[in-house]
């Protein structure tokens, strides 16, 4: 194997094995996964249950069951029916909370207060259908033709929005993506800067650079911490999708979900490469951990600006600002994945954005490595870019 790659991998392995063991990383991983996994559950908590127990009293209401069962899947609710001997038993079961509602023979719907809205609507619909069919038959119409006539196909739902039919869910997914990308990027990138300063401040870098080149050291560090960031992103996405499947929300997810996820991973890597090179270059200017956050300010400002634009793009994915900045690096690394999640984006736009971002990454990596090389051995007071750049040339 090429020794440059072997050295960088050696450095990356150290970063991973040391960092992956820290409590901070493990807690962050577990917490972010839990948070995202909890999200699909939240609408359920506020939206009430989607399965109901219904009691039926008397022979006539029994006819309601098949009609109600036929309607239930369309409303995405599940029903369980219980036959009860009389109205007293229905009362008791509702009061005890065993039943959500009960239909009594003579056409009354019992509930604890108002019945749940979607359950009420469904039972009323079923009742109307059963009654209509019975009355038509009683009026002497051919039962077969009545049945035939009653079989009305529902209205086909068509969305005219550019965001496609599932715009609400897509916006939710996009929003989640913005938050996840932002927090993972900023934490991974800060780790890179802190690692650079740790090695510079402890002077261990002088020892390291006698056996490997600065580019190998920096490359390995970026690689190792990036792999951990990517792992964190994969875990978060898996937790979100897993939870969506478990709660039955997955049916609502937009069609191109696989593409959205793969795109998010690719954009994360591009954004990470850009911002981590920037963070490493800035970090190499200082020698103490206390100075890291202040020296990183230009980078965090840029990243936060990208975050805000991406946030705006969630609501206006087709707006001019979102369209333009989704092509401009480094904004594109956060705005483009959000746009593709929130709405349909022409392939050529994604291609142009990716190409420009790749170019920007190449430029920043080269310049960042150059600054790092000339600054990392100069410990002491904070250096200015001006001090470093002439020497780097």
């Amino acid at each position: 194997m090429n020794s440059t790659i072997a050295n960088a991998l050696l450095v990356a392995r150290r970063e991973i094995s040391v960092r992956a063991r820290t409590r901070g990383f493990l807690v962050g991983l577990a917490l972010s996964a839990l948070l995202v996994a909890a999200l699909p559950v939240i609408p359920k908590l506020f939206g009430g249950p989607d399965s109901y127990a219904v009691g039926l009293v008397g022979a006539r209401s029994a006819a309601l069951e098949p009609a109600a069962r036929a309607l239930a899947p369309g409303e995405q609710i599940t029903l369980t029916f219980t036959r009860l001997p009389d109205e007293r038993a229905a009362h008791a079961a509702i009061t005890a909370g065993d039943l959500d509602a009960a239909v009594v023979d003579d056409g009354r719907l019992l509930a604890d207060g108002d019945p749940p809205q979607e359950l009420g609507a469904l039972l009323q619909g079923a009742h109307r259908a059963v009654q209509t069919e019975q009355r038509l038959r009683a009026a002497g119409l051919d039962p077969a033709r009545v049945t035939e006539a009653m079989r009305v196909p529902p209205l086909t739902e068509v969305s005219v929005s550019t965001a496609g039919g599932d715009s609400g869910v897509r916006a939710g997914v996009a929003m989640l993506l913005v938050l996840t990308l932002f927090f993972l990027l900023i934490s991974a990138v800060t780790q890179v800067a802190m690692g650079v300063v740790e090695e510079k401040g402890s002077r261990i870098v002088e020892l390291l650079l006698t056996s490997i080149r600065p580019g190998e050291l920096l490359g390995g560090k970026i690689l190792g911490l990036g792999a951990l960031g990517l792992l964190n992103l994969v875990v978060v996405i898996a937790a979100g999708l897993g939870s969506a499947l478990a709660t039955g929300l997955a049916g609502d997810l937009p069609d191109g979900m696989t593409g959205i996820v793969l795109g998010a991973l690719a954009w994360f890597l591009l954004g990470y490469a850009f911002f981590s090179a920037l963070a490493a270059a800035l970090g190499s200017l200082v020698s103490r951990q206390e100075e890291v956050s202040s020296v990183l300010t230009p980078m965090t400002t840029l990243l936060t600006a990208a975050y805000l634009v991406a946030f705006y793009a969630v609501t206006e994915p087709a707006g001019t600002l979102a369209r333009v900045l989704s092509l401009v690096p480094p904004f594109s690394s956060m705005v483009m994945p959000v746009r593709t999640a929130a709405a349909d984006v022409p392939v050529w736009e994604v291609g142009v954005a990716a190409l420009l971002m790749l170019l920007a990454v190449a430029v920043v990596l080269t310049a960042g490595a150059r600054i790092y090389r000339s600054a990392v051995l100069r410990t002491g007071a904070r250096l200015r870019l001006r001090d470093v750049l002439p020497a780097a040339r």
Binding site: L10, V18, R203, E206, L207, L209, T210, S211
Partner: protein, 293 residues
């Protein structure tokens, strides 16, 4: 053999090195002495490739030093540096691997070295949990793990107690006996005189004396004549070269680097009882003081 030829280095307006040269043979222990800021650390950094010289060249076994050759060198920088949160054994093995060892080689070398340096029980502890003395041992282990072809140590003895000094001296002597050239810098000139085969004295970026310790001490013009006379007549040394000091016990000591020793002896015998007469080589401390002055 390690050779440095005519090294020049300048930091902005400050000239750090003005033509430093040195030569260390296989199995030779070379002591590098000089005041703070004289250029010791800069020279060692250039040898290790951490810095590039403005001009001049470092050669290893007759060839300009390559990155591959340098990977075989062992180094202890002046500013000690270790990963504070990394475990002792992992850290030593990691540096072994950076120097090109396989995982298995690094592991077995780490085990042997920790045994030798008394670190075995601390293998699983993070470096930050160790005493300063033990951290220093880890630092040494990091320099030695890959069985270096050359050892460059910047102030390795500073901050060590006398027992630790002896232990480190023994480890370095062991490497020398194995044929490895060893360079170390120190302010403790008695230590350099005791341990080293050759010495380099650097002042203001120039090598003012270099070579085998005995040769440096015996160098032309550095010998001095010391004559001790008991109860001499006053004014006995008038007309003789050198300086006369009284030791307060009726003895007078004449020191000179020039003059006819036989004439001086005759004058001293006339003046009183001569208790000591002889040419002496200066100590390294004296040579050093003279060089730095």
């Amino acid at each position: 053999m390690l050779e440095a030829e005519d090294l020049h280095k300048r930091y902005g307006d400050t000239i750090a090195l003005r033509g430093v040269a040195l030569r260390v043979r296989p199995g030779e222990m070379f002591g590098f002495v000089g005041a703070n800021g004289a250029g010791k650390t800069t020279t060692m950094r250039i040898v290790m490739g951490v810095l590039g010289p403005d001009s001049g060249e470092v050669r290893w076994r007759g060839e300009p030093v390559t990155a591959a050759a340098r990977r075989g060198f062992g180094y202890m920088p002046e500013e000690r540096g270790l990963y504070q949160k990394m475990r002792v054994a992992e850290q030593i093995a990691y540096f072994g691997r950076l120097h090109g060892m396989t995982a298995a080689e690094a592991k077995s070398a780490t085990g042997a070295l920790m045994e030798r340096l008394g670190l075995t029980e601390r293998a699983g502890d993070p470096v930050e949990a160790l005493s300063l003395g033990n951290q220093q041992r880890v630092q040494l282990a990091v320099a030695l793990v890959h069985d270096p072809t050359l050892l460059v140590l910047d102030e390795p003895f500073s901050g060590l107690d006398p027992i630790a000094v002896d232990a480190l001296a023994e480890v370095l002597a062991e490497r020398c006996r194995a044929g490895v050239p060893v360079i170390f810098s120190s302010h403790q000139l008695d230590l350099v005189e005791r341990l080293c085969d050759s010495v380099g004295i650097i002042a203001a970026g120039r090598m003012v004396a270099a070579g085998p310790v005995e040769e440096v001490r015996a160098a032309e013009g550095r010998r001095s004549l010391r004559v001790v006379v008991r109860d001499p007549a006053p004014g006995w040394a008038d007309g003789l070269p050198g300086e006369v000091t009284a030791d307060g016990d009726g003895r007078q000591v004449l020191r000179t680097t020039e003059g006819d020793d036989q004439a001086i002896l005759a004058a001293a015998s006339r003046a009183g009882r001569v208790e000591h007469f002889g040419w002496e080589q200066p100590t390294l401390t004296e040579i050093f003081r003279e060089a730095v002055a």
